[in-house]
């Protein structure tokens, strides 16, 4: 896989998440891109290639009309919640292969209110799956955590603690959407969505944009910038036997999911162990997802989460701060931007530029994990 110390992130930019009436997803992407270029100290004509995408806010390659018509190859990526991870994977390969040494990765989206409504045909499923009310992502997460809680002794109180941490962290992050802290009681007593998960245990589809400037380590040196090293990025889809969202059936044969596989692969590629991670972003589509993904990524043991949340291990000042910017719960989920938001947050944490939600002690090893339909995961390891 080449020299995995070759690729560095030298600039990041973001349009704030949440709802911004009157601003299109494309405009958010252009804003984020200019911020990232300025952060890297380069100009748009310096960018040799781009990978980007949105799910519902237009074609990324059409952004050149506003960014500048420089003739660069701009590849659209459409990989659901894995859009950002796929774009970053592709950009890394473009640089590691030696084809280019400076590029852009951008993700953006703008979704209407309420749960996602996917056309079953897009996933090879019959119309009946949607018309009978089973094509709802929240149901899967509820069923998965329901089983997990019984198997590993996780309480509803812990699910509430995940949410209260997210909104507490969101309150410290000016780019977040949900910035009102809630009590555990408010979370537990909120309207039920899919038992055991209440309204405040779920994220909402939202809006936002993130851009990253990536470069070879050599190019970064010539530019006189240090950057954050992308030690690995790995993307996996589901294997036979795993339990994933939007499955009309599953096998009695059990296999681990794409999260475990992508995490193991990225730690191996990076030459870093999960125990070395000092700040992490894991997919918290709902509060149970954060609990399960912590163990599936190898950051903790199955069942250990109950004690972790009781002890505050994942708080900003804890032993392993998780979703320090408020995660998906407080930022919402603009599909195309969500995975890159995670990377943006870790880059800022490692640079010591995360502001009020900065982890103390200047962490030097960070990790990100995204999960999405129909059973995909992308993980990164980032170091100073």
């Amino acid at each position: 896989m080449g020299n995995h110390e070759d690729v560095v992130i030298i600039g990041v930019g973001m349009h704030r998440f949440g709802r911004t009436p009157g601003v299109s997803g494309r405009q958010m992407a252009v804003h984020a891109t200019h911020q990232a270029l300025a952060d890297a100290g380069i100009a748009w004509p310096d960018v040799q290639f781009a990978f980007g995408g949105s799910y519902a806010a237009g074609d990324a390659d059409a952004l050149v009309a506003d960014l500048g018509l420089t003739g660069l190859p701009f590849v659209n990526v459409k990989n659901g919640c894995g859009t950002g991870g796929s774009a970053l994977t592709s950009a890394r390969h473009a640089i590691a292969s030696g084809a280019h040494d400076l590029g852009l990765v951008v993700g953006f989206d703008k979704h209407p209110r309420g749960a996602f409504n996917e056309d079953p045909a897009n996933l090879g499923l019959g119309e009946w799956y949607g018309s009978t009310g089973m094509m709802v992502t929240t149901q899967f997460f509820a069923m998965k955590i329901q089983r997990y809680m019984a198997e590993h002794g996780i309480s509803e109180r812990t699910l509430a603690k995940v949410s209260t941490k997210a909104f507490r962290n969101g309150a410290l992050n000016p780019m977040a959407w949900r910035r009102e802290p809630l009590t555990e009681e408010q979370v537990l007593e909120a309207p039920m969505v899919n038992p055991p998960l209440t309204q405040y245990m779920f994220c909402s589809p939202g809006e936002g944009a993130v851009a990253l400037v990536v470069a070879s380590a050599e190019r970064a040196r010539r530019l006189g910038v240090e950057g954050i090293r992308l030690r690995g990025v790995e993307f996996r889809s589901r294997r036979f036997g795993s339990f994933e969202v939007y499955n009309t059936w599953i096998s009695p044969e059990r296999a681990e999911g794409p999260t475990s596989e992508a995490a193991r692969a990225v730690f191996e590629a990076a030459g870093v162990g999960p125990e070395e991670v000092q700040v992490a972003q894991v997919q918290d589509t709902e509060s149970g997802a954060e609990v399960m993904h912590l163990a599936e990524t190898g950051l903790c043991a199955h069942g250990e989460q109950e004690q972790w949340y009781a002890d505050g291990v994942t708080e900003i000042n804890g032993r392993l701060p998780v979703n320090t910017d408020g995660g998906v719960l407080a930022n919402g989920e603009p599909i195309g931007a969500t995975g890159l938001r995670q990377v943006h947050e870790i880059v800022q944490q490692l640079r010591g530029r995360a502001g009020e939600h900065q982890v103390p002690g200047r962490p030097s090893v960070g990790f990100t994990h995204v999960y999405g339909a129909p059973g995909i995961s992308a993980c990164t390891v980032l170091t100073r």
């Binding site: 749960a115 009946w128 949607g130 019984a150 038992p195 096998s251």
Partner: protein
């Protein structure tokens, strides 16, 4: 209610490929791989485990046990269809031995649902077409104790 009968009282399955009529009652139509015996629902042409083009139609067992469950408390967006005011419904995965299928449940009280609960296949009305046709779908109901 003797007068004003609806003009039609027809029913149709939400998808004709999902359920077969048997002498024992309704059964889900799946497919089994003749190479590795993987069973899918609904039927598909190729095996998702060994990729063989060797799937043959099979009727799935009518009884099983609950493997995972939840309740849908809000009305999903289209393409979901329902009559009148939205009523929460239960759903889950049912272990039929050779395959675990996702299905609606006839029970929407979460306290009445638990892993391992014995359940059996039933047909339930899902929604009504514009012409008055009742559209049915499959669901699992708890076995009588």
């Amino acid at each position: 209610m003797a007068h004003q009968q609806p003009m039609t009282t027809t029913t149709r399955m939400v998808d004709p490929d999902l359920v077969a009529d048997t002498s024992e009652g309704p059964a889900l139509r799946g497919a089994a791989c003749t190479e590795c015996s993987t069973t899918t629902f609904p039927a598909q042409d190729r095996c998702p485990r060994c990729s063989a083009l060797a799937m043959s139609p099979t009727l799935l067992p009518r009884r099983g046990t609950l493997w995972a469950h939840t309740v849908q408390h809000f009305a999903p967006k289209p393409p979901f269809r329902h009559d009148g005011e939205f009523e929460p419904f239960g759903l889950g995965y049912v272990d039929l031995g050779s395959v675990i299928v996702e299905s609606r449940l006839t029970v929407s009280d979460v306290t009445a649902l638990s892993p391992g609960l014995p359940v059996r296949l039933a047909l339930v009305p899902a929604f009504t077409d514009d012409d008055g046709t009742t559209v049915t779908t499959f669901a699992f109901e708890p076995e009588e104790q």
